[in-house]
Symmetry: C2
Subunit: 137 residues, 2 copies
């Protein structure tokens, strides 16, 4: 049997706030529009960054849905990774827009990286390849 | 600033067991080989299903690493989704191989679906489009 990974689905606490974060702050585009899912008593929307093939599904469940136990941040979702062209600028821009920055800058392998948190407390890794030289901001 | 989603990183409790699940059971292929990451006191490997572009990174951290607090299954990672050609066969095969099946079969929209758990307790959604008729198993 052949299995084909299709997308990552995260659960969000507030659909509007998360949709705003992933589209307005991180620039993702809506690939499958927001729709209600009566079976789960929830809402779902699928997103993709321009020039990326990775699909991110946002899932929201109404209070009382059996798919929606109390929200908690686990360890099983380690992080979602996003590349950017200038990490210093990116972190400064996100901080200015009120996004919580967890780690500022760090070098791992050939990458500079930083971590911020999405509105649900999910760690977002920001990556910039060190192949392209950076002018420090 | 343009951000481009690059991959989803999950944290695993036992790298060998998880690697076996995602490669031998779900058929993913190693895209970036398993390597040690001294900065995080861990190991990392990147996987992709044949004929899919979605990238899944498995992260493991040694006991005592500051990246590795006690493992817990949260609500923030809702599920990872995998398509298959025959959901009934797929569920039967996984159950036979000792994988925990959470929900057997359900219809949502144009899809049949089932849920199993990976070795870390992460929910894996199995999907089959109902566009192609299924012969019940």
């Amino acid at each position: 049997m052949l299995f084909r990974m299709t997308y990552t689905g995260i659960r969000v606490k507030d659909m509007e706030e998360s949709l705003r974060f992933y589209t307005e702050i991180l620039g993702m585009q809506v690939i499958e529009p927001l729709e209600s899912t009566p079976t789960t008593e929830g809402k779902v929307v699928t997103l993709r960054s321009p020039s990326s093939t990775q699909l991110l599904e946002l899932n929201w469940y109404a209070a009382g849905s059996r798919f929606g136990p109390a929200y908690s941040n686990g360890e099983d979702l380690d992080h979602l990774a996003f590349e950017c062209d200038d990490l210093t600028d990116a972190v400064a821009e996100l901080a200015r827009r009120g996004i919580e920055v967890v780690f500022r800058l760090k070098e791992i392998g050939g990458w500079n990286e930083a971590f911020v948190k999405d509105p649900n407390g999910i760690w977002i890794e920001l990556l910039q390849s060190r192949q392209k030289p950076t002018v420090p901001g």
